[in-house]
């Protein structure tokens, strides 16, 4: 009841502002995109966007929050944050089987932040920010410190508006070991204006979401343009959740998906605070491949990720979408499993080669599947200090020949202080594999630096490959037109290419691990040797031996007593 009243008030507020042609101060949109994948799996991507026209930076304290969550607003103003991107991912995105995701994310936790120019000590602000975020998201982000934070010099340009990009204000850190579970989803859901009570967030049930091949939830905060003139900025908060359900674990092998099968819920209403609430189903391969029911007349086309896709649109703000049963359960049934998937143009892989626990080699492979165009990629590698890289062994080869990068930035590591940072701009020739290899040596850690389960291994974060990939269709560069949310995540400046970020696998390396029971063994052995050896010697040297008469039996004792009485010497 409470949210309904609030919703009614806000609807009047929106109408009043629209009447006077004022730009909306608050806006909340929610969207779900469902894309059936070629392997029979299904990819669902939720996006919730809150836009708020306010100025956190100007010093006047913002105190009245409506749709924008107060915890994040206070974080932005207290730590002078210009942009914040945090993601929690469980699983690894398989580019070759699933295509490109709408919002890429590496396994584990990833956090990158652009601070405002007014910040004087970026490192201490970064440390406080990670502690505060660990409390908000119930994650161990407080383990982010100088040993896993890097300052990229060319990657991770701001996704929001801004004129100056001084990389001194950028920090990037990743925790590949971070586990994602319901305790991270709970506070994420509480940041939404409608919570998990109405709208698309009703579908977010943890028992189904975590029983999937890939689950990634993220929060992106950035300033954006309010109108085409772009003189006023407003703050945009995007909460995204990408999940890929496996054909065999969630659908029992049948190529038939429905909202109930995926989320164990159906939709009954849109969030009353949302100005738009839509579901898009990717039907570009329709109608030969699969059918969707209930049918909808609304269609929409969008050029996203270099391809022109057609979508069926279900508008949840319209009552007729829910039909007579007042609930929406979309059904997607496959008819045939032929046809090709559009092959992604860029792909990355990484693995550790070598044997033994002393040395090894990291190989990063970058695949360019375009038949005739070559394009540049920016590779960012952050390797922890305990893998000592030998940069003189760095080789970059494409098609067997040496490929010299046009830009290399390398910052060597310092033991226990900072990790290695390697950034390279490499031109990938068409239809080729580029291999980057570097040898390393494993360091011996101090006894207290090992985790409680050191035999599991130590993780090395994913490499990030950022690139402008040439696209087949013309991309939309108009940033202020009403576009579906999934196509407006990365800003697009030219029509012939689109920006893509690919993450490789994280690595798991074994460091030489001592036997932790050895101190106990050594103490036991030494004490035993000392006790037996020295003790015996001491006894032999200091004790004197006397012959002791054995105790006589009872009969003998009585006989002795009688003899004593008689005055005769005893036996």
């Amino acid at each position: 009841a409470c949210s309904n009243i609030r919703g009614v008030f806000l609807v009047f507020f929106f109408l009043e502002r629209k009447l006077w042609n004022l730009p909306l101060l608050y806006d909340f949109q929610e969207e779900l995109v469902i894309r059936p994948l070629h392997s029979g799996d299904i990819y669902a991507s939720f996006q919730f966007r809150t836009v708020w026209e306010t100025d956190f930076t100007r010093g006047n304290k913002v105190s009245h929050y409506r749709l924008f969550p107060k915890s994040l607003g206070q974080v932005i103003s207290k730590f002078s944050v210009r942009e914040l991107h945090i993601s929690f991912t469980q699983g690894y995105w398989r580019t070759m089987q699933w295509g490109q995701p709408f919002q890429p994310a590496p396994p584990g936790a990833e956090l990158w932040v652009w601070f405002q120019d007014s910040v004087t000590d970026v490192d201490s602000t970064w440390k406080e920010l990670t502690n505060v975020l660990s409390g908000i998201f119930c994650a161990s982000l407080n383990f982010i410190d100088s040993t896993n934070t890097v300052q990229p010099s060319a990657s991770f340009k701001p996704l929001g508006i801004g004129n100056v990009t001084d990389h001194r204000f950028l920090r990037y850190a990743t925790l590949p070991r971070e586990i994602v579970c319901t305790e991270n989803l709970t506070p994420w859901k509480k940041l939404l204006p409608c919570g998990s009570k109405a709208g698309l967030a009703v579908l977010l049930k943890s028992e189904k979401l975590f029983h999937s091949s890939f689950h990634s939830q993220a929060v992106h905060i950035r300033p954006m343009c309010q109108d085409w003139e772009c003189k006023t900025t407003s703050w945009e908060l995007r909460q995204t959740l990408n999940v890929v359900f496996d054909l065999h674990t969630s659908a029992q092998g049948k190529r038939e998906w429905s909202l109930f099968k995926m989320f164990s819920r159906t939709l009954t209403e849109a969030c009353p605070l949302a100005s738009s609430s839509k579901i898009y189903i990717d039907i570009t391969d329709n109608p030969e491949q699969f059918e969707v029911s209930p049918a909808t007349p609304l269609l929409s086309q969008a050029s996203v990720l270099g391809d022109r896709r057609t979508f069926s649109v279900y508008d949840l703000t319209q009552q007729i979408t829910f039909g007579t049963v007042r609930s929406l359960n979309l059904l997607i049934r496959w008819k045939s499993s032929e046809g090709d998937m559009l092959r992604p143009l860029l792909h990355g892989e990484r693995y550790v080669a070598g044997y033994g626990l002393q040395t090894g080699e990291i190989h990063t492979l970058m695949y360019n599947y375009h038949p005739y165009r070559s394009f540049p990629v920016l590779l960012l590698d952050s390797v922890p200090w305990y893998l000592r890289l030998y940069i003189h062994t760095l080789t970059v080869t494409s098609k067997g020949k040496d490929n010299k990068p046009s830009y290399i930035h390398y910052q060597p590591s310092k033991d226990r202080v900072r990790p290695h940072l390697l950034e390279m701009l490499v031109q990938l020739p068409p239809n080729s594999v580029t291999e980057v290899t570097v040898q390393f040596e494993r360091a011996l850690l101090k006894w207290t630096e090992y985790t409680p389960d050191p035999n599991h291994g130590f993780y090395v974060g994913s490499s990030v490959i950022s690139s402008l990939v040439p696209s087949i269709v013309a991309m939309d560069t108009n940033s202020t037109r009403e576009r579906p949310l999934f196509s407006s995540f990365f800003p697009c400046k030219e029509e012939s290419s689109y920006f893509v970020r690919v993450y490789t696998e994280p690595l798991l390396v074994n460091l030489p691990t001592p036997d932790f029971s050895m101190p106990y063994n050594v103490i036991c052995l030494t004490c035993t040797v000392v006790a037996v050896g020295y003790g015996s010697l001491y006894n032999l040297l200091t004790r004197s031996f006397q012959i002791e008469e054995p105790n006589p039996g009872l009969a003998k004792r009585i006989a002795n007593v009688i003899r004593k009485m008689r005055g005769v010497p005893p036996l």
């Binding site: 994650a139 701001p158 586990i179 028992e207 900025t233 701009l425 389960d453 990365f490 800003p491 400046k493």
Partner: protein, 390 residues
């Protein structure tokens, strides 16, 4: 005569009911606490210690159900069982076999997880000596009118509790931590429950007032686990906490059950070990202590007949965009991969630092050798054999 008896009966009835009201009122305000906190710790890592996480989560669930909010609960789980890759049903932790009861639920907030659950962090949470940047959800912000419930589970021995297979906390350290809490006025009354092998040894050394302790087994005894689930493949709960959960499921926020019933939970016939308790440091009689004094968060309400005048609501001034400002420059999105800019990026000018220790030592050595050889040459050149004057 009849009127007299009637009147006397009526007056005795009034007297009795007023005494009753006084009793009720006395009971209402007897405990002396105003807020409740809970610190629930599971100290074991690895999949086969699933039951310890299930123990802690079942106590968490009961405590939340009886009213303590997440902001007043510090939950520490040393490993993740729900989203563990060996869990056949992800995002669930079951306490009863055949997957009857999911104690993990859909609304759980874990404050310390994984490698953060260490002896140091546990003691810092108890004593409040945390680094200044620690968020509120990770702090125990109790005061001198707080009743705190502390629940520990894991593997233990005579006088110690093992944390994550790599370190231990001893009973002396724990007793000292509670004394620190008492001296800093961080609790009103404290209930300490421990479910480990030889758990009674952990409360032997307590010496601060207002502490009540329960353990699942005596010194020299092992606490046993309850039942395995064949689908999940591990033991799901420990016996003591299983019967404790059963007991707590019957408690609701208004129940009047007291601590003496809690001491009777899990007798030797069910638990195989002998649960123990210690009440000598507790000032009140355990029979007068309600279960909800520690496990629930019952709000005391005082009814008043006074009227309070509310001030007028503040008029919300709409923050319209300020148009009278100077013509701001046009902002634009940043180029994501400006290739030419990157290639021609100037290398950062690093600050000059004075030479490091090794270089300094090397240069000192070189200079020393240089001057020594110079001096040696001088003396060699300068010294001539003394000529004998003829």
């Amino acid at each position: 005569m009849k009127i007299l008896t009637l009147w006397s009966l009526f007056s005795t009835y009034l007297l009795a009911s007023s005494l009753n009201i006084e009793n009720h009122a006395a009971q209402f305000f007897s405990s002396g606490h105003t807020n409740n906190w809970a610190v629930l710790v599971c100290t074991s890592r690895f999949w086969f210690n699933y039951r310890h996480v299930a123990n802690t989560l079942s106590v968490y669930r009961s405590v939340k159900r009886l009213g303590i909010p997440d902001s007043h609960i510090v939950l520490m789980l040393a490993d993740d069982m729900a989203c563990n890759h060996r869990n056949p049903k992800p995002a669930t932790v079951f306490s009863h076999k055949n997957m009857e009861l999911n104690v993990y639920g859909d609304d759980v907030e874990v404050d310390y997880r994984g490698y953060e659950v260490t002896v140091e962090n546990f003691l810092r949470v108890l004593t409040g000596r945390l680094p200044p940047s620690t968020p509120r959800s990770k702090r125990l912000l109790s005061d001198d009118r707080s009743n705190i419930l502390i629940y520990l589970t894991g593997h233990g021995g005579n006088g110690f509790l093992k944390f994550q297979d790599s370190e231990e906390i001893s009973n002396v350290e724990l007793a000292d931590a509670f004394e620190q809490m008492w001296q800093k006025r961080r609790y009103n009354e404290l209930l300490f429950i421990i479910d480990t092998c030889q758990g009674a040894s952990m409360y032997e050394r307590f010496y601060s007032p207002n502490l009540m302790a329960l353990a699942s087994s005596q010194v020299g005894e092992d606490s046993l686990s309850h039942q395995p689930d064949l689908a999940i493949g591990v033991h799901l709960m420990d016996r003591y906490t299983f019967y404790l959960l059963e007991f707590l499921e019957d408690i609701h926020p208004a129940s009047k059950t007291n601590m003496n019933d809690l001491f009777k939970v899990c007798p030797k016939s069910q638990c195989v070990s002998t649960p123990g308790h210690r009440t000598d440091l507790f000032l009140r009689d355990p029979g007068s202590v309600l279960i909800t004094d520690f496990f629930g968060s019952v709000r005391k309400v005082e009814i008043t007949m006074e009227t309070i005048n509310l001030t007028d609501p503040i008029e919300q001034v709409e923050q319209s965009p300020v148009n009278g400002e100077l013509q701001k420059e046009r902002n634009s999105y940043v180029d994501q991969l400006p290739v030419s800019e990157i290639i021609h990026q100037k290398p950062k000018q690093r600050d000059w630092h004075p030479p490091d220790g090794f270089i300094l030592g090397l240069w000192t050595l070189i200079l020393l050798v240089f001057f020594k050889t110079l001096a040696f040459q001088e003396t060699a050149v300068g010294s001539k054999p003394p000529y004998r004057v003829q």
